[in-house]
Amino acid sequence: MTGRAPEPSDVRAELARAAAWLAEGGRSPDSRAATSDLSMDEALLLHSIGWEPIELVFGVSVTSIQVGVWTWGMGELTSPSDAHNLAVEHASNRLGQECAAVGGHGVVGVRVDLEIHPRHVDVALVGTAVRPVAKTSHPPGRPFVSDLSARDFVLLSNSGWEPLGLAFGASFVYAPRRNASTAIRQSSQNVELTNLTQALYAARETAMERMQASGIRLGAQGVVGVQVEEGPMRFARHVIGFTARGTAVRLGADGHRHIRPELVLPLDDAVVQFEAESLRAQG
């Protein structure tokens, strides 16, 4: 991952080579044809830092959750969060294995599809395996997995950072109900509902803590692009779930490089931001 001025890639030669390969109808050992879900500009951007897409890779895991854990409980429900962690870890390992099998150094633009059902957790990861064009460096022992887009990957590596893997964590906490007399007393008051607030806090902090721990295990210095999902579970209203994930990153050996942005003023027509319809029926 060097930040040197990119060699302009010769698209014409690339096309010719791809056409020749198609005409042969066979897969040569050093096949250059790529399957990827990257857009044209993302693929070109990758080439601008000397990387190329290789193949679309998948990783899937379905992990079961013990029966009956959602209904009654106290404090944290460990079975669903263990299942979540296992599922994401297995899926991401499989993604890494597929990536290594096609000779990739890592997977970018990973779409994370995560669903928590009462009895099982589904995780499906799809991304594009990438590698440096110049095969000077060996693939890393463990390919990186990142849910950042190829564009973000290019930006990061231009400024000296490298993605390491997905950092993730989840926690599910049972929120005790208020007893009837408290509920009635509070019905006309402005009060904080401490039972729910505390459960939410517990779930959030535990999940974030797990995400951090998983980042630290990857040897990362930080997690960027953290996305969180929170709220009561669809099928168990008194269980508050919190999941967090992001891409663990590490600063490369050369340190942070400043990007020096330039101010631009686009002359495109402004997009209409105000829609009169939006004022209607919001409540």
């Binding site: 006309s188 402005n190 904080e192 509902l193 607030t197 630290i216 210095q221 996305q227 990007i259 495109d268």
Partner: protein, 264 residues
């Protein structure tokens, strides 16, 4: 509000880990790099929340009025969330919090309970200069990484996220009025006036908060109108913005390059 005393145990543990150099951030890569470019380093994803039960206040069918109890609830709950977020940032030794989002989520726990949540990324200046606001607390700002970079280029420093809110009940029109205006082009003065007054109240309260922070101005003001779950005639007017002060000399922003992009 004197220190991070109100924080739950779990939060402290997580923050301890963050203090050892590991960071988390919900900034996108663009924003992350721009925040670095402005001379700040992200410290951690901070948040505060409160699940709050709003009380009840009677409203009169024909009278436009502020519902002070509901206003108070909206203020209180947001303050609780913001204060907890600031405490987390303080515990990290942050200079400020950027990209703050204030949300209200309704769940199925009951019609009057809502979660008020404040989220943002705590940042610290790399140069060692303190950017805490005049009250000695980390600044808060709902500016995105891009806006943050731009405003820092011009020599302004954010002081705090300021808000003003007003829950207002707008009177229904009487039968006589309704019949009188059938088929006519007329302004409906009672509605107009009520909306005006509510907006002015919210804006004034926001400005007062800005003044208390000693700000020279408020940028990125947004005015949101929501009925939440109170029915169509009760509306919350919420204005939000980032209070800024001028620090140091004018910095000349480079002239922007004019571009026309070919996409679309």
């Amino acid at each position: 509000m004197t220190g991070p005393t109100d924080l739950p145990k779990d939060a402290k543990h997580r923050l301890d880990e963050l203090r050892h150099g590991f960071f988390t951030s919900d900034l996108s890569v663009n924003e992350f790099l721009l925040v670095k470019e402005s001379g700040f380093h992200p410290l951690g994803f901070v948040m505060g929340s409160s699940i709050y039960h709003t009380g009840f206040q009677g409203r009169r069918w024909t009278k436009s009025q502020e519902l002070s109890k509901l206003t108070e609830a909206m203020y209180n709950a947001r303050e609780l969330a913001m204060t907890r977020m600031e405490e987390e940032a303080d515990a990290l030794g942050a200079d400020g919090v950027v990209g703050v989002r204030l949300d209200v989520n309704y769940y199925e726990w009951g019609s009057d309970a809502a979660e008020f949540i404040a989220l943002g990324t705590a940042v610290k200046a790399e140069g060692g200069k303190s950017y805490k606001n005049q009250q000695g607390k980390p600044f808060t700002s709902d500016l995105s990484g891009q806006d943050f970079w731009t405003i820092m280029q011009t020599g302004y420093v954010p002081q705090g996220l300021v808000m003003g809110t007003c829950v207002y009940h707008i009177a229904h029109r009487g039968l006589g009025q309704t019949l009188g205006s059938v088929g006519q082009n007329v302004e409906l003065p009672n509605f107009t006036q009520a909306l005006y007054e509510a907006r002015e109240l919210a804006m004034t309260r926001m400005q007062d908060e800005g003044n208390r922070l000693g700000a020279t101005g408020i940028v990125g003001v947004r005015l949101e109108e929501k009925s939440h779950q109170w029915g169509s005639h009760t509306i919350e007017f919420l204005s939000l913005g980032t209070a800024v002060t001028k620090a140091g000399d004018d910095v000349t922003l480079p002239r922007p390059t004019v571009i026309i992009s070919l996409d679309n």
